[in-house]
C-alpha cells in the first residue's frame, strides 16, 4: 500500500526531444489513476518512468514516501502488466506467476500457496501447467494479471493491457480489473488511449497531451467541466462541438461577459431539436448531412449555414462548421433537411481563444 507522487517529472531524450514536460500527479493510497491521451502524448513513457524502465531526467518520483529515481525496477515494489502481456513463452502458467516470487527467494510452499490463490481468483486453476502459446488472448491477459498480483506489490502499473483484446472481452476484462483492484485495494496507474476505458476505470483521471498534463480530476468532473478545448474534444464520444464565438449569429446570442470567450463548446447530447431559443442559450440552424443510428440513440451530422472562422486545432476535434447532435431513439430528420438545434445556458462551455483556459460566465 502506498501513494505515488510525481513532482515536476521530466524526460528529455538524448538529441533534445522533450517527451515529458514537467508533470505533477498525486495518487493517493488505494486509488485507481488512469493516464489518458492520444498516442505520442507521453503517457506510456511516464508509466515506464514510474516502473523504472526509463530514466528520469528531471523531477522526482515518490512511491510510498521514498524517492525511487535511482532505484532499480526490481526494488521499487511495483508490478506491471504489459500491452503484449510479456509472458515468458518457455515457462508454464504456474512458473510465469512463480518467477518473481522465486527470484526473491520465497520458500516453495509459500510460492505454491500464492500462485494457487491467484489462479483461483483469476479462474486459471485448470491451466496452470499450460504454456502461454496454448492460451487464448483473454487467458494470457489473466496470467499477466496473476503475475502482478502474486507479488502483492505496493503499486500496479498497467500499460494498455486491454488493447490486444476484442471489443467484447475488453469490456469484460475492464470490469474484472476494476473489481480486482477494489478488492486488493492496491494503488494502480493505468495507461490507455481509450477515453471510455479511462472514464469507467478511474478514481483520478489524468488527461495528457504533448508531454503535459491538461487536466487532473474525477472523471465526471472532467467531463462536466473540461479545462481546455483539448480535454473537451478528447473526453466524450462523439466529441464536443467547438465553434468560434466571433461568428455573428453566436456572438449576438451569447452577450454579456461570455463575449470575452473565443471558443464555444456544446456536447452533442446537450442539443435539442427545437424552434425555440432558450434564454441565454444558443440556437443554430443546421443542414443535415448524415445520420447514424446505433439503436438507443441517433447521431445527426449537420453543417452550419455560416462559415466557421476557427480551424480544428487538436486531434479528435470536429472539422470546422460540422456539428454533431445526439438524440435519443431512432426518430431523425431526413438527410438534407434544414433543422434548428438549441442548447441551454448551463450546458455551454466557454474557452479562451487559444483553447487553453476555461471561462466561467
Amino acid at each position: 500500500m502506498a501513494n505515488v507522487t510525481l513532482r515536476n517529472v521530466r524526460k528529455t531524450y538524448t538529441g533534445g526531444f522533450e517527451a515529458i514536460k514537467g508533470v505533477n500527479v498525486d495518487v493517493a493510497d488505494g486509488q485507481f489513476c488512469v493516464l489518458v491521451g492520444p498516442s505520442g502524448c507521453g503517457k506510456s513513457t511516464l508509466l515506464r518512468m514510474v516502473a523504472g524502465l526509463e530514466t528520469v531526467t528531471g523531477g522526482e518520483i515518490d512511491i510510498g514516501g521514498r524517492v525511487v529515481n535511482q532505484i532499480e525496477p526490481a526494488d521499487r515494489d511495483i508490478a506491471m502488466v504489459f500491452q503484449n502481456y510479456a509472458l515468458y513463452p518457455h515457462m508454464s502458467v504456474f512458473n510465469n506467476m512463480a518467477y518473481g516470487l522465486r527470484n526473491r527467494g520465497m520458500a516453495e510452499a509459500e510460492v505454491k500457496t500464492r500462485v494457487e490463490e491467484a489462479a483461483r481468483v483469476l479462474e486459471l486453476a485448470p491451466m496452470l501447467e499450460r504454456k502461454p502459446r496454448q492460451l487464448s488472448g483473454g487467458q494470457r491477459q489473466r496470467v499477466a494479471m496473476g503475475r502482478a498480483i502474486v507479488r502483492q506489490p505496493k503499486v500496479f502499473l498497467f500499460d494498455e493491457p486491454l488493447s490486444n483484446l476484442d471489443a467484447k472481452l475488453r469490456i469484460a476484462m475492464r470490469v474484472e480489473i476494476r473489481k480486482l483492484q477494489r478488492r486488493l485495494n492496491t494503488t494502480s496507474i493505468y495507461v490507455t488511449h481509450d477515453q471510455l476505458e479511462a472514464m469507467t476505470l478511474a478514481d483520478v483521471l489524468v488527461v495528457m497531451n504533448g508531454g503535459q498534463v491538461e487536466q487532473i480530476g474525477n472523471p465526471l468532473a472532467i467531463y462536466e467541466k473540461p479545462a481546455t478545448t483539448f480535454v473537451a474534444s478528447f473526453i466524450g464520444a462523439p466529441p464536443m462541438n467547438l465553434m468560434s464565438t466571433r461568428a455573428d449569429e453566436i456572438k449576438s446570442q451569447l452577450g454579456g461577459g461570455a463575449t470575452e470567450a473565443g471558443i464555444l463548446g456544446i456536447r452533442p447530447e446537450d442539443f435539442v431539436i427545437t424552434d425555440q431559443t432558450p434564454a441565454g442559450g444558443v440556437a443554430l440552424p443546421l443542414t443535415v448531412e448524415a445520420i447514424e443510428r446505433v439503436g438507443a440513440e441517433t447521431f445527426v451530422y449537420g453543417t452550419r449555414a455560416q462559415d466557421e472562422q476557427r480551424v480544428a486545432a487538436t486531434p479528435g476535434e470536429l472539422p470546422p462548421g460540422e456539428v454533431i447532435v445526439r438524440i435519443p431513439g431512432t426518430e431523425a430528420p431526413a438527410i438534407g433537411a434544414r433543422i434548428r438545434v438549441a442548447a441551454v445556458r448551463a450546458k455551454l462551455h466557454l474557452f479562451s481563444g487559444d483553447g487553453r483556459t476555461r471561462i466561467e460566465a
Binding site: 516502473a51 526490481a74 503484449n84
Partner: protein
C-alpha cells in the same frame, strides 16, 4: 485456389528444371558415386590397375589406429570450435544488442570476418603466431611461454581451433543477434521488474528463448568444423607437427592426394558423406519442429 502451374507443353517443365538437375547430377551425385565405387577398389602403386576388393578398404581403415586418432581429434576439434565460437559470439551478441551509441558500427565490424576465406584466416593467424615471424609470439615468449606450434602438437591444435573458431564467430553472432532481437523487449523488462538480476535474467529468460538458435548453430558449426576447416589446417600446419592436426577431412586429402592411396581416401570420404547425411537429417527434423520451448 489452384496452386499448380499449367504448362502448354509437357516438356517445358522438365526443360526448366534441367539446368539445376544437371548441376546437381554432375557436381554432386557423379563425384559421390565415383567415391563410392573407388572405395571398393584397390590400386597398385603406379596407378596402372585396380582390383575390386569389396570392403577391404573400410576394414583396413577401421583397423588403423591412426584413423581412430583422426576421428577422436575431429570430434575434439569440432566440439572445441563449436563451443568456443558459440559462447564468444553469444557474449558479443548480448553486448551488441544493448542500445549503445554506434551499435550499428560494432555490428557491421563484427560481421566482417565472415567474408574472409578460410586459407586467408589461416595466413592471418600464422602472421600473428608463427614462432619466428609472429607478432604475438614475441610477447608470448616474453611472458615465459614456450611457444612453438611448429613443434608442439597441442599448441598447433590450439592454434587451429582458435583460427577456426574466430572465423565462425561472425556467422554465429549474426544469428544470435537476430535471435535476440526477435524476443520482445517487454519480456526482459517483465523479468527485470520480477526481480531477476542480469545474470539470472540471461540464464532463465534469454538463454532458453535462444535455445532453438543455439541448436541450429551447433549443427552448422559442427559441420563447419568437420569440413570447412580444411583451408585453415592446410595453410597453418599442413596436418603437422606429425599428425597432430590431421582431421578426417584433411586425412582424405593427405592419404589420397599426397599418399596416393585412393581407395582408402575414397572410403574415408564415403564415411564423411554418411556423417553429413546424419547431421543434415537431425537439422531437418529440427527445422520442421522449429520451436523447442
Amino acid at each position: 485456389m489452384q496452386k499448380q502451374a499449367i504448362f502448354q507443353s509437357k516438356l517445358l517443365p522438365y526443360a526448366l528444371v534441367a539446368p539445376q538437375l544437371a548441376i546437381v547430377l554432375i557436381f554432386f551425385y557423379w563425384p559421390a558415386l565415383q567415391a563410392v565405387i573407388q572405395s571398393f577398389l584397390l590400386q597398385d602403386a603406379f596407378g596402372l590397375s585396380s582390383t575390386f576388393v569389396w570392403f577391404e578398404n573400410y576394414i583396413e581403415l577401421f583397423k588403423d589406429p591412426a584413423y581412430f586418432e583422426a576421428v577422436v581429434r575431429t570430434f575434439v576439434f569440432s566440439f572445441a570450435i563449436a563451443v568456443s565460437s558459440l559462447s564468444f559470439a553469444l557474449l558479443l551478441a548480448v553486448m551488441a544488442d544493448k542500445p549503445l551509441r554506434g551499435s550499428m558500427l560494432y555490428r557491421t565490424l563484427l560481421i566482417w570476418p565472415y567474408a574472409v576465406a578460410p586459407p586467408v584466416v589461416g595466413v592471418l593467424w600464422i602472421f600473428m603466431l608463427h614462432p619466428s615471424l609472429g607478432v604475438l609470439s614475441r610477447y608470448l615468449r616474453g611472458l615465459g611461454v614456450d611457444w612453438n606450434p611448429l613443434l608442439d602438437g597441442n599448441q598447433a591444435a590450439g592454434l587451429i581451433i582458435l583460427a577456426a573458431a574466430w572465423k565462425q564467430i561472425s556467422y554465429n553472432f549474426l544469428f544470435f543477434l537476430a535471435g535476440l532481437q526477435a524476443i520482445p523487449r517487454s519480456v526482459f523488462e517483465a523479468a527485470a521488474i520480477d526481480g531477476a538480476r542480469p545474470m539470472r535474467r540471461f540464464w532463465t529468460v534469454t538463454f532458453p528463448l535462444l535455445s532453438p538458435t543455439i541448436f541450429f548453430l551447433l549443427v552448422v558449426n559442427i559441420v563447419y568444423a568437420f569440413f570447412d576447416t580444411f583451408g585453415i589446417i592446410d595453410t597453418m600446419t599442413r596436418g603437422g607437427p606429425g599428425t597432430s592436426t590431421v582431421t578426417l577431412v584433411y586425412k582424405v586429402y593427405s592419404d589420397g592426394l599426397l599418399g596416393g592411396n585412393l581407395g582408402s581416401s575414397a572410403a574415408q570420404s564415403v564415411i564423411l558423406m554418411v556423417m553429413v547425411i546424419v547431421l543434415t537429417g537431425i537439422q531437418f527434423r529440427f527445422v520442421e519442429r522449429k520451436v523447442t520451448y
